[in-house]
């Protein structure tokens, strides 16, 4: 079992919801998906590489016959999978501090959700509904979400500089190169092994 690979942590959470409430949540996710400014806080929490919420209705658990017994449940379930950089505590603290309103909108429909503020009962709740990852893979374990964004900015700037190199004098190139350095200088961070955290 490992929730961690390199600089990424895999979190799995499952919470029960009364079926009538899932329709409200579906509506909220629909709005969140279509009104981009509402995603700003999520984007600004720049340590999340990928995250998803999955509503699993009580009658939609995969059923393949072959002797499998069909599920008989009272609740629908909300699954949350996140891939983030940093530690569990840092993540939950940041979620609680920055996204408390958004999180409350999403999880208030789950049974016994205490609210994301104050953080202590919120952490107790997440710890209770979290289950561990058995296998975790990432194609770039040494990079964080910010490293990825920065690398693509550098790549794009370099491609554009390279195009201009072909037909310009050394002085013109030096000027373009200086502008390139100014553009990418904040995106040249080092990637490597993750620091050991306790």
């Amino acid at each position: 079992m490992s929730n961690i690979n390199g600089k990424v942590y895999a979190m799995n959470v499952i919470t029960p919801m009364k079926p009538w409430k899932t329709w409200i949540l579906r509506g909220l996710f629909f709005v969140l998906g279509h009104v981009k400014p509402l995603q700003n806080d999520l984007i600004n929490l720049s340590f999340i590489e990928f995250a998803r919420w999955v509503i699993l209705p009580r009658r939609r658990f995969p059923f393949l016959a072959n002797g499998q017994v069909k599920e008989d449940l009272k609740y629908d379930y909300l699954l949350f999978f996140s891939n983030f950089n940093g530690t569990w505590n840092q993540y939950i603290d940041a979620f609680s501090a920055v996204l408390s309103r958004g999180l409350n909108m999403i999880w208030r429909w789950s049974e016994k959700f205490p609210g994301s503020v104050p953080v202590t009962p919120f952490k107790e709740y997440i710890a209770r509904v979290q289950f561990d990852t058995d296998y975790y893979y990432t194609a770039y374990p040494y990079a964080t979400a910010n490293d990825l964004k920065s690398a693509h900015i550098v790549q794009s700037a370099l491609d554009s500089l390279n195009q201009r190199t072909q037909a310009c004098s050394p002085e013109q190139f030096a000027e373009a190169y200086l502008k390139f350095v100014l553009r990418v200088q904040a995106h040249l961070g080092e990637t490597g092994e993750a620091p050991v955290v306790s």
Partner: protein, 210 residues
């Protein structure tokens, strides 16, 4: 479509695990034991097959009881959860998995109900789709780059950092010449393998405060 964000696909699969009291150890435990030995680096099956940014496999034993006054209830089956963030599209991705690492897939999913094996790619794809759950909301920090583009960009970032550090105060003629050479070397450099760590580098030191 909520399964997609830009060019990235959020695949969520729940495969019911065979419940056979005569199996020793139980099928869920066999999956767990196998996953514990499965490489996570360059030899990972997901590194050997194309298109996976990040993925996880989780044995979900049961739903979680959050305490009274909620009702306590339990699943009849245990489920193998496969959560993958991959390059679109889904059919090509699943086909790539089945073609690249069929034995690994079989070793994992043969403990699941109705699994047809990866030898028949279409049956494998149909099975995975039958177990797929639609993602309700999907977020990706970078949603317009493939795995290959990202690995290449990370390599470029490292190389550019070194180039800039080594070419401060270089005269324009020499700078342009060496930049052209640098671009040729960078273009010819082999792409880093997915799942591998970044090349080890000496810590660069320098500056007035040293």
């Amino acid at each position: 479509m909520p399964n997609k964000n830009g060019n990235v696909y959020g695949l969520t699969i729940l495969s019911p695990i065979i419940d056979d009291e005569s199996a020793t150890p139980s099928h869920d435990l066999q999956i767990r034991e196998y996953l514990a030995t499965l490489p996570t680096g360059e030899e990972s099956p997901f590194a050997l097959s194309p298109g996976t940014h990040l993925c996880r496999l989780v044995v979900m034993d049961d739903v979680i009881y959050v305490g009274a006054p909620a009702c306590e209830e339990h699943l009849h089956s245990k489920y193998l959860v496969f959560e993958s963030n991959c390059d679109c599209d889904l059919d090509s991705y699943l086909q790539g998995l089945a073609a690249s690492v069929p034995e690994r897939l079989d070793a994992i999913w043969s403990h699941c109900v109705g699994y047809p094996g990866a030898a028949n790619p279409q049956a494998f794809i149909d099975y995975m789709k039958a177990c797929q759950i639609e993602t309700t909301f999907y977020f990706a920090a970078v949603n317009d780059k493939s795995v290959t583009e990202t690995l290449s960009a990370l390599q470029t970032q490292r190389a550019v950092t070194d180039f800039i550090a080594c070419h401060q105060h270089t005269k324009p003629e020499q700078l342009q010449k060496e930049f052209t050479e640098f671009m040729a070397v960078l273009k010819a450099a082999p792409l880093p393998r997915p799942g591998g760590m970044a090349p080890r580098r000496d810590i660069k030191t320098g500056g007035r405060n040293e």
